[in-house]
Amino acid sequence: MTFEELISSGALRPFKGGVIDSSVSTSLPLVAHNIKSLKVDIAAEQQVRLVVAYTKSCQAAVEINLAPNSSLELVEVYLADSYANITVNQAENSRCKSLVALLRSSNATYTYALNGRNAESVFDALFIASGSEHATLNLNTRHLISDCRSASLVKGISAGRATGEFHGLVYVAQDAQRTDAQQQNRNIELDNSHIVALPQLEIYADDVRCSHGSTVGYSDAEAIFYMRQRGISEADARRLQIEGFVQDVVSRCQMEPVCALVHEAVTDKLSKI
């Protein structure tokens, strides 16, 4: 299954940008395919599902504005070398849930500006770099006002001679009291590859709950022992761990039929490393 097939089958509705208000049907997920630039204004109270797919090498700039009480479920899939810059501005009570699968040499920058109170951003991402690829994921979560929440989970795998990079920043402005920001980054390094991680916190308010964590290396010796005790070979145990590692992110995708496609693409990528 490909994006092209999904679109022609009518499961996704092509979208070129613009205002999404009650006049626009949102019963099907919208899809922006190999776009150069996309500007989306989601009107108040609207609930939108949007897929951005990169299946041909491209440079893209995406700007999404969420009006009060609106929500967006965003899935971004990189199946070609791309350079992408995505900015999401969130007004009060807006909710954005993003899922990113970066499966080629790409440089993707995500900026979430939480401008309105009670805005919430959930970000789940997976990057896999193999061969001589170089995958970079930048995430900048900006808490600019009080009472917002953000939670991100970024998982990376590098294999072959590839490089995988994660640059994360949680910024909390002085007025952004009662911020709840959590950022987690987990990486697995295989073969002769290279992982770089810079998870950063920049905090100017005191009444906050902020934490981040970053790890490289995933051989959980206890889990390997547990699996081998049940008769599973060490090689299989390690493979299972990697599948589980990836599955943890992929299973957070809730937008069918795109999820099946993401799952397939990820499995395919894993089979080659």
Binding site: D220, A221, E222, A223, F225, Y226, M227, R228, Q229, R230, G231, I232, S233, E234, D236, L240, Q241, E243, G244, F245, V246, Q247, D248, S251
Partner: protein, 258 residues
Amino acid sequence: MANGQQPNMLKIENLHASVGDKQILKGINLEVKAGEVHAIMGTNGSGKSTLASVLAGNEKFTVTEGKVTFLGENMLELPIEDRARKGLFLGFQYPVEIPGVTMANFMKIAVNEKRKYNGQQPLTAAEFLKLMREKSAIVELDSKLTARAVNEGFSGGEKKKNEIFQMAMLEPTLSILDETDSGLDIDALRIVATGVTRLKREDNATVVITHYQRLLDYIVPDYVHVLYKGRIIYSGDKSLALKLEKEGYDWLINDYKE
């Protein structure tokens, strides 16, 4: 009851093991025959869990001396998974969470690896699902849990039931249950213990490691051993467990000269 004619299933001779520079097991001797239930008791830090881990082959520990024979074979030579495939099952005190790996997938691989080791054909998906349903009933394990990741988000009781469920799936020759009773309320304890008892056969054996007598009300041992400072310092029948419950370990420890 114990059968004197049976050959040893497990024979531990003068087993010493350490972690880092610290010697934990200092000469364990134990023989287990088919059909027997042994209980190993002892205070915290006596080496009970280490013994279980070492038998299963946990690489965290180094065996510095001694011999372990399992079904006539030098077990210390075998990798962890081959010990398991040969029929050794360890019920973990703290079952490990494996995110993203579903119970069903995990068990399917484990069961079929064991079958392959014994020269059997792998189970078909249908056969496997049937087996799962059958076995999960033994410990009243919620069938929904098998769709979830291994132990992830399971309650303490569910984790322990899940251990016994896996034991049922793998039909081990020798089961070592490491503090399976810890952290269980009385209902869960009963379910777990009944599950273990139902799995007991003439051709398998169980070693129960526990802190308390209460589990032994359900799983009645043929022998009770007291582990202290890395050695078995006393062995007796099931009445020993009751005596320990009443009088504690002091009377034994005070008698014991290192």
